[in-house]
């Protein structure tokens, strides 16, 4: 499978995301923010970082990047799209996912090994996991606190669209939500970083690999 990883100015985890894609057995394709071109990718990943310096508001400028026209169209057409951290923020700003990510309740950047509970294994990016499975990956952000209005939160819960929840609540996210999916299950936003947990040597283990290997099941 070809997985396109978008590099925006200020993207930081793009190389890591491409490595994770490769380790899961897929082909990684580097996509450029300024191109109206997904280069034939079967899935798209928006990586972490500080796109456009996170100026104005996290993800608010990246949403208007040329490549996002194609990403939004493809997502609406059912292509698997994963936004990690800043990528999640961009997906919310693009209205592909509801809610928003705001400043952590402790007001600091935090980098932790964080355990999550997988709550949905029918999305394009989580099928490799069992529901209820606990995975430990990396959480690192300053604006990672998920918020939405009560009605939206109730809807996400009722429709089973919370894909992962924090064990403990490290940043004040409403209902400890770490990641959500859209109605169709092809678009996933995840605040923590599975791409930093794909090798035994570097990072807190290999629990993150499943997010990338899940793709095979969907696309096969």
């Amino acid at each position: 499978m070809k997985v396109g990883v978008v590099t925006f100015p200020g993207s930081l985890d793009d190389a890591d995301a491409r490595r994770a894609v490769r380790l899961a057995g897929h082909e990684a394709v580097a996509l450029w923010h300024g191109d109206h071109d997904l280069q034939g990718a079967d899935a798209v990943l928006l990586p972490g970082g500080f796109s456009y310096g996170d100026y104005l508001r996290c993800g608010a400028i990246a949403r208007f990047a040329p490549v996002m026209t194609e990403v939004v169209d493809a997502a609406k057409g059912g292509m698997p799209v994963l936004g990690i951290c800043n990528g999640f923020q961009i997906l919310c700003e693009s209205h592909l996912l509801p809610g928003a990510l705001i400043r952590n309740d402790h007001r600091k950047f935090g980098c932790l090994d964080q355990t999550l509970t997988i709550e949905n294994n029918t999305s394009a990016w989580t099928s490799a996991y069992e529901v209820g499975q606990q995975v430990t990956i990396v959480l690192k952000n300053g604006e990672g606190s998920f918020v939405a209005d009560e009605k939206t939160l109730d809807m996400l819960e009722a429709e089973g669209r919370v894909v992962a929840r924090y064990v403990g609540n490290p940043n004040g996210s409403q209902r400890a939500i770490a990641g959500i999916t859209n109605e169709a299950g092809n678009v996933v936003g995840l605040m923590p970083h599975p791409e930093h947990a794909v090798e035994a040597l570097c990072g807190p283990g290999t629990d993150g690999l499943g997010f990338f290997s899940s793709l095979g099941a969907v696309l096969a």
């Binding site: 100015p9 490595r19 402790h106 690192k140 570097c202």
Partner: protein, 761 residues
């Protein structure tokens, strides 16, 4: 100063005006120059300098840029053979950063630099731009920056009135280091945090960056090739940081002086990230003949150093420099320390391709001049010449001072006041309470309140990071080559004996690198001291340099470069002499490394090295008695080398290793147990107190599987390293036979509460 206002008078000061008006009074003293320095500038030029030339000389001849008080001592580092235990140096002292061969066609560069004074004035921006500056230094060598570390020192955190200043400065500095480094996508893999009352009003921010390159990608800072174009690219030049090096880095703070804040630069890490990616793409395309970052002294430094190191002259049109503030005068543009700027020398045929890459990354780039066949650095301003100087006189041939130095009159009395005479705990309950008090003390407590604010995972190559003994980074996915770096310094030891103290800093850093299984290859240093005008301080500096040189010769590793920060004092009180030493090592096969902290229950715990009763300068003496006196622990470099060789040879056999330093065996056992909540039961000698709290060097605690005890003993014997079995890992407590038992939960509660409580979160 003349009667005319500087705003009108200085602005039009060209070389022609200087010739016509030779006796104009100039503000050389306000710019930090001494009378004889000003006279020397007049002699070099054969006339008075223009205001722009005066600006350039003043910043370049500042202590920070010229090393004028220290180069007579630093030059001895060049006497150390420029080879590492496994290869050669590709670039040495005098370049932006030293570059060493690490095998398989790869080279590594690393450097530590201070940003002490700016970080007191404006903690966030001071620390942030310290990170930015060292990253550009590494980038200018042609290397991809792959990791940062930071070595921080603050005033007391003991609840006293003075602590309030630490509580102001620390969060800003930590947020600045994190805010900038996190945005660059560089993992922060370690460093130090130390508290001592002498750093009150003068915190130390030493930032380190590691870069990786292929041998053939090495770039040096020189302008050669007549007709080559000089391109300034990156951020626009503004009024921030004007005179930073002369005003801030080279003066002590004076309560009556003017506010210094405008001299601190303001950083934009997003711009720096673009600059890094843009520069790496330019390197990959082979478009650069020479390159220099703009750091301290800004354009004055970049133009004069590039021209001085090249084989010709340089002509620059200063009015082409993109400005943030159009009202800046030429001398202000030359002195500005605006961040995120680089200067490249590019062959004319490559300029278009260079500009295209800059445009791709939205980085502004302008041709500001060219390399000439003369031997002068000439700078024009709207068609008139404002600078016409021999570049070497600005950049490399600045003044040299043989500052007087002498062993302080108080040194003997200090060394006689030994901590070994202080009252000690003896009962099990007292020893238990002492251990708990020490693990909770500011220097020994959990630092995760700080380190959790740094991204240690980005790039996905972090093998070890805080709280391990060293930071370890895989240099890329294509190879199993890993570099390990540690920074260390115990300023109390350096105060008691600066020669031995500097060697102990080196020894600890060397040991930390070896503890993870890496072979130590080279050092870089950041020498933080008080005023060079004080003979006591100058003696400390001279002794520290001599100690480092002698130690490097004995260990067979070179000094690759370094940085000096002087005038670190408030009033008459200098900081503890703080020669921070960074040691870099390599592991050729990354699958083999030794982790920090107990990994499994049932492993045998060994203490390697010789234990002596050495309590002077220890954490125990400081925390329990507020005492500093006596002689520091014995330096035994031969023992350090044997120990390091054994640790490197023991990779695969050792299940964990953790060095002994501040706080002694007690702290090492506590940290080893805390890492994975695995306790240990140990049996010590009759003098449990000395065993636990002495700070003898050249010691490491290691564990091996129960079946490997004899293998460990024979490995130790082979290397001539004393090895004593202390006990066995396991359980949920640290038990010292016949003395006390301490549940890990109780240790953790004491250890982890200190910083959050002090910071109010």
């Amino acid at each position: 100063m003349s009667d005319a206002s500087p705003a009108t008078d200085l602005r039009i000061d060209t070389v022609a005006v200087a010739a016509q008006d030779p006796d104009r009074e100039q503000p050389w003293a306000d710019l930090g120059l001494k009378p004889d320095e000003y006279a020397e500038i007049r002699e070099i030029l054969g006339r008075r300098p223009t205001s722009s030339e005066l600006a350039m000389y003043s910043v370049m001849w500042s202590e920070h840029c010229s090393y004028k008080s220290t180069k007579v001592h630093l030059k001895q580092f060049s006497d150390i053979p420029q080879v590492t235990p496994i290869g050669r140096m590709l670039a040495g002292i005098g370049e932006n950063a030293g570059v060493l061969d690490v095998g398989q066609g790869y080279a590594v560069t690393f450097k530590v630099e201070s940003h002490n004074h700016p970080s007191f004035v404006e903690p966030y921006q001071g620390a942030a731009t310290g990170v930015g500056g060292i990253v550009r230094d590494i980038l200018a060598m042609g290397a991809r920056p792959v990791a940062v570390m930071d070595s921080l020192r603050f005033g007391p955190l003991d609840g006293s009135d003075a602590s309030r200043d630490t509580q102001r400065v620390l969060p800003g500095i930590v947020a600045g280091v994190g805010g900038y480094g996190n945005c660059l996508g560089l993992p922060n893999i370690g460093g130090e945090v130390v508290f001592d009352e002498t750093y009150l009003g003068n915190p130390l921010v030493n930032a380190l960056c590691i870069g990786v390159l292929r041998h053939e990608d090495l770039h040096l800072a020189k302008a050669s090739g007549v007709g080559n174009q000089v391109i300034l690219y990156g951020a626009r030049t503004g009024g921030d940081g004007i005179g930073g090096v002369s005003v801030l880095a080279s003066e002590t703070f004076d309560a009556d002086g003017p506010a210094k804040r405008p001299s601190v630069q303001v950083g934009d890490p997003f711009m720096e990230k673009l600059l890094i990616e843009c520069t790496l793409e330019i390197f990959a395309a082979g478009l650069v003949a020479g390159i220099q970052d703009l750091g301290g002294a800004g354009l004055s430094c970049a133009t004069s150093e590039l021209a001085s190191a090249g084989d010709g002259g340089m002509h620059v049109e200063l009015d082409r420099v993109p400005l943030r503030d159009s009202t800046l005068a030429p001398e202000e543009i030359l002195m500005s320390e605006s961040q995120e700027r680089m200067m490249a020398v590019v062959e004319p045929a490559d300029v278009a391709a260079f500009m295209a890459i800059c445009a791709k990354w939205d980085v502004e780039a302008v041709v500001v001049g060219e390399v000439t066949d003369g031997d002068r650095l000439i700078i024009g301003w709207h068609g008139e010449t404002v600078v016409d100087v021999p570049p070497r006189s600005v950049a490399h041939d600045g003044p040299t001072y043989e500052r007087p130095y002498a062993r302080p009159s108080w040194q003997d009395a200090l060394q006689l006041d030994a901590a070994e005479a202080l009252p000690r705990p003896s009962t099990g309950a007292e020893l238990r309470a002492t251990l708990l008090r020490l693990v909770a003390s500011p220097n020994l407590c959990d630092k995760s309140w700080i380190t959790d604010q740094y991204d240690r995972y980005v790039q996905g190559n972090t093998v070890l990071a805080q709280p391990s003994d060293s930071g370890m980074i895989r240099i890329d996915d294509e190879t199993n080559l890993v570099v390990a770096v540690s920074t260390d310094c115990n300023g109390r030891f350096a105060k008691l004996d600066p020669y031995a103290g500097a060697q102990l800093a080196l020894a600890e850093s060397y040991r930390n690198v070896a503890t993870g299984g890496a072979r130590p290859l080279a050092i870089s240093d950041c020498l933080n001291f008080g005023s060079p005008e004080d003979p006591d301080v100058m003696w400390q500096f001279a002794e520290a340099c001599r100690g480092l040189k002698d130690a490097c010769l004995e260990l067979g590793i070179p000094v690759t470069g370094g940085n000096v920060s002087l005038y670190n004092q408030t009033g008459e009180t200098a900081i503890l002499p703080t020669p921070v030493v960074a040691v870099l090592g390599v592991i050729e096969d990354v699958t083999q490394r030794t982790p920090t902290g107990f990994q499994h229950a049932g492993d045998l715990v060994f203490l390697l090295g010789e234990t002596r009763e050495e309590l002077s300068g220890s954490e125990w003496a400081s925390v329990v008695h507020g005492h500093l006196g006596g002689r520091p622990p014995l330096v035994d470099l031969a023992a350090e080398m044997s120990l390091a060789e054994m640790l490197v040879a023991g990779v695969g056999l050792l299940t964990s290793a953790h060095d002994l330093s501040d706080g002694g065996l007690a702290q090492t056992l506590a940290e080893s147990a805390l890492r994975h909540d695995i306790g240990a039961a140990v049996t010590l000698s009759e003098d449990v107190f000395v065993d636990l709290f002495t700070e003898s060097a050249a010691r490491v605690v290691v564990t091996v599987s129960a079946a490997d005890g004899e293998a460990l003993q024979s490995l130790a014997a082979e290397h001539g390293v004393p090895a004593a079995v202390l006990g066995v890992t396991g359980g949920d407590a640290l038990e010292v036979a016949g003395s006390f038992s301490l549940p890990i939960t109780e240790i953790r509660a004491a250890w982890s509460a200190t910083l959050p409580a002090a910071m109010g979160t």
